[in-house]
Symmetry: C2
Subunit: 221 residues, 2 copies
Amino acid sequence: MGVMSYFKSPDAIKAFFEREGQKVVYDKNQTFVRPDDPRPWVYVLQEGLVAASFNFENGTKCILGYFIPNTVFAQNRSFYENDGGGLEYTTVTKAVIYRLHRDTFLKQVENDPAFNREYLHNVSQFRIFTTDRAICLAENRIHNRCIRWLMLMANYYSEPVGKGSRIIIPFTQGTIAEFLSVSRESVSKVIHSLVQDGHISIHRKQITITNVARLRDLLEA
Amino acid sequence: MGVMSYFKSPDAIKAFFEREGQKVVYDKNQTFVRPDDPRPWVYVLQEGLVAASFNFENGTKCILGYFIPNTVFAQNRSFYENDGGGLEYTTVTKAVIYRLHRDTFLKQVENDPAFNREYLHNVSQFRIFTTDRAICLAENRIHNRCIRWLMLMANYYSEPVGKGSRIIIPFTQGTIAEFLSVSRESVSKVIHSLVQDGHISIHRKQITITNVARLRDLLEA
């Protein structure tokens, strides 16, 4: 559990990006990758928080995940032409990012065993995260979808605080709704009851889960 | 497009599994990986079709994806303790599978560059697939979710037939519903209208998409 044990710090990758890459700094709320942007960058986030989201035809948006420091991520279609693309990346806070051209990146994956190992780990972890993410969205009942969201946050984006776990991503009811692809009203109701029952507490945009081990028991059969 | 260009045949991996692995043959409808099964296998599917699904607390099931020949896949928690697990793998048809112990597999990933390249490609493609899968589930409107299901099938699991594309996975309305995590009744209605309007045709369990390039236009704003 906890962030650091999960997305392990990719030291060889970071060192290479800091040496060979281009440093870019974005203010908060900047969309720096658009769905059809053709530039073939690979990124390492050094500081800050980035949301990856998808825009539907009717203008609603679903946040699929977040990049936290030390994660490696690529532009749509950087590696594969048949990557459906369509994701956009937006800074949630001010972000410091290093970027490298795909070709330079892939050459290093080929030639540096430590770099290769870290990248394979990174991709594998994202694969597991995205599977858990899909399971969360496959849950039809809003109450259970909210519980699975908390389980996901506990597993991938949290740090221990006392006996609880604090989610390191700031959430409003609006962003929870965008993450769960449901209406703000229905999220509001579930969140209210979780707070009332003492399962979570919210201070500004910081959510603390009282007891991660007991989340699973809150799933309704 | 098309299966073969997408999940490229991992020749080095296949040769290694055929030489070092254990060959297992399963009849159709056999669940050979259960959510809490601790055995650390890595698999290559040689022949047949395997569904990966998740069971919810209320007994409903969501099919997350399919493994087709030449894909490499691992048991829950084979690689990472924090893999939430919970997926089960079930044969859809008779399947011929090679399996290897995780440690043997990972050693080969370290030591054989061709093996490494193919495995990284495989994991990356699954990562992209799973993102598209999550986007499909994030779509709330049943009509659009069905269209995104067809787009997903066209992109990952189809072969050209005449001017159309045939989905290589047999689907009933029940399995479409399990894939989309919606009721069979609502799927039935959308499928019926897609057939009526000539966008798809169904022969036994084989679905042919008339014009893949026009699927996107069917998404309702």
